[in-house]
């Protein structure tokens, strides 16, 4: 059983040219915790994820991925993109085998079983539906037993029903494997369904850090609605104040 790594984000700043995308971000994430980061598009939430993954470098501050046994180890971080990003010229199983250590078909089939797609192992990715592709991509991420899984709106392009199926699947796999998960999304309901903690980022700053004290698996009942309402009204309130400022300027 793999145990996720803790992640410590300290005073992180990120600028692209003169534009400051992230300003003094501080987050402590416990091992095995499921954190969701929500915010409007362009707020910097995806940038934060890319920084944690090492796809971009910070302008200021530091990100530490802490493993008790092996402090310098960062290899256990996997990333789930918004698009499945499968290699179209490799069979489904090969897409998984390529990134696993043993490169064997058995490992790939095992991983496919966890997302219930083992019968598609020999297909080309192009023949799969969007949801199936994203499930293969999830199997690929989990095949090497990651310590940290970063999810960058992986369900954004899926239809509503497939989305709910995927949310259940992700929750079950997370419960089983206990990796640390950070989900970036603009869907507040998805964030509350999946995460232990929902962090709101607005204009590059954390404006809310809400612990979701609900039992799993979560039902979309009145306490669910309470959290949803709380976060949404915070988001909309900011929107209104911005609009107010605009009209004031005019």
């Amino acid at each position: 059983m793999s145990q996720g790594y803790a992640i410590s984000v300290k005073n992180v700043e990120k600028s692209f040219g003169t534009t400051k995308v992230l300003k003094d971000i501080n987050i402590e994430i416990k091992e095995g915790e499921f954190v969701a980061i929500v915010g409007k598009s362009g707020c910097g939430k995806s940038t934060l994820l890319r920084l944690i993954c090492g796809l971009d470098t910070v302008t200021g501050g530091a990100i530490d991925i802490i493993d008790e046994q092996n402090p310098a180890e960062q290899a256990g971080v996997k990333f789930l993109f918004q698009e499945a990003r499968l290699l179209p010229w490799q069979r489904v199983w090969k897409n998984i085998a390529l990134v696993s250590e043993k490169k064997s078909k058995e490992v790939a089939i095992e991983a496919l079983k966890s997302v219930k797609l083992e019968d598609k192992a020999d297909e080309w990715p192009g023949t799969l539906s969007g949801g199936q592709k994203q499930r293969v991509s999830l199997a690929r991420a989990l095949s090497s037993d990651p310590k940290v899984l970063l999810l960058d709106e992986p369900l954004g392009a899926l239809d509503a029903l497939t989305r709910i199926e995927m949310q259940v699947l992700i929750e079950n796999l997370w419960k089983e494997k206990r990796f640390t998960a950070i989900l970036v999304t603009h869907d507040v309901s998805e964030a509350i369904y999946l995460a232990d903690r929902v962090i709101l980022i607005e204009n590059g700053e954390i404006t809310m850090d809400e612990r979701i004290a609900l039992a799993r698996p979560r039902k979309r009942d009145s306490s669910f609605a309470y959290f949803e309402n709380k976060i949404l009204s915070r988001l909309l309130e900011q929107n209104e104040s911005l609009e107010g400022a605009d009209s004031f300027n005019i």
Partner: protein, 262 residues
Amino acid sequence: MEKTRKLPVWSNKLAAWIIPVVVVILWAIWGTTQSSSNSLLPTIEQVWKGFLRLLKDGTLWENIKISTFRAFKGLFWGGAIGFTLGVINGISRKIDHLLNNPIQMVRNVPYLAMMPLILVWFGIGETTKTILIAIGTFFPIYLNTYSGIRYIDSGLIEMSKVYGIKNKDLYLHVIFPGALPSIMIGLKQSLGRMWVILIVAEQVAAKSGIGYMVTNAREFMLMDIIVLGLILYAILGSLSDIVTTFLERKLLKWRYSTERRS
């Protein structure tokens, strides 16, 4: 939705042959109305007789062999150099800065315009024809390999980075297969050029081959052989098309299987 009646696949293949067959039939009918004295366009019968004559004395087969060998020898060199440089420049920005500009400059010279220079340097031997074809076939393969590698889906490269696909695996399983569709387009264009250059080179500077056979026939007004030469070019060109299409279906199997489903 428009309702279309689906025809079986073989009927499409058959359709491709309707016009050539009609042309041959018209040609044959026209031939029956001609007296033997016509010397501008031979009848199909005359061409057929010319074909059998050259087949019997062995020159036809010999010329086809020589022409085909020349063509592919040139393509081999042009393709090999084009592919190698395309890969190197596609991968390395530094070498690209050094080499790409001069290559683009040479590309703007029409390849047949280099013929006088190469004739003076290398005479009318085999080397000249190989070099001419190599130059002509180099560019399509170079350019398409280069852009195939350069414009590979950056999302996949990023994915490879995150998932630790690197070095040999990265080139073998991500970059090369990603560039392959483009490389195949280059190969197709090169094959088309290959025959054009071969014909010109053989008509200007050769003592054998189909081009020489046709030029020689013109000297003696052997219209049947001239037309036979043209038909041979058409057949050889089509054959190389068939081979590349086959190669494409084999190498880019993932594309065809995806298209079929959607």
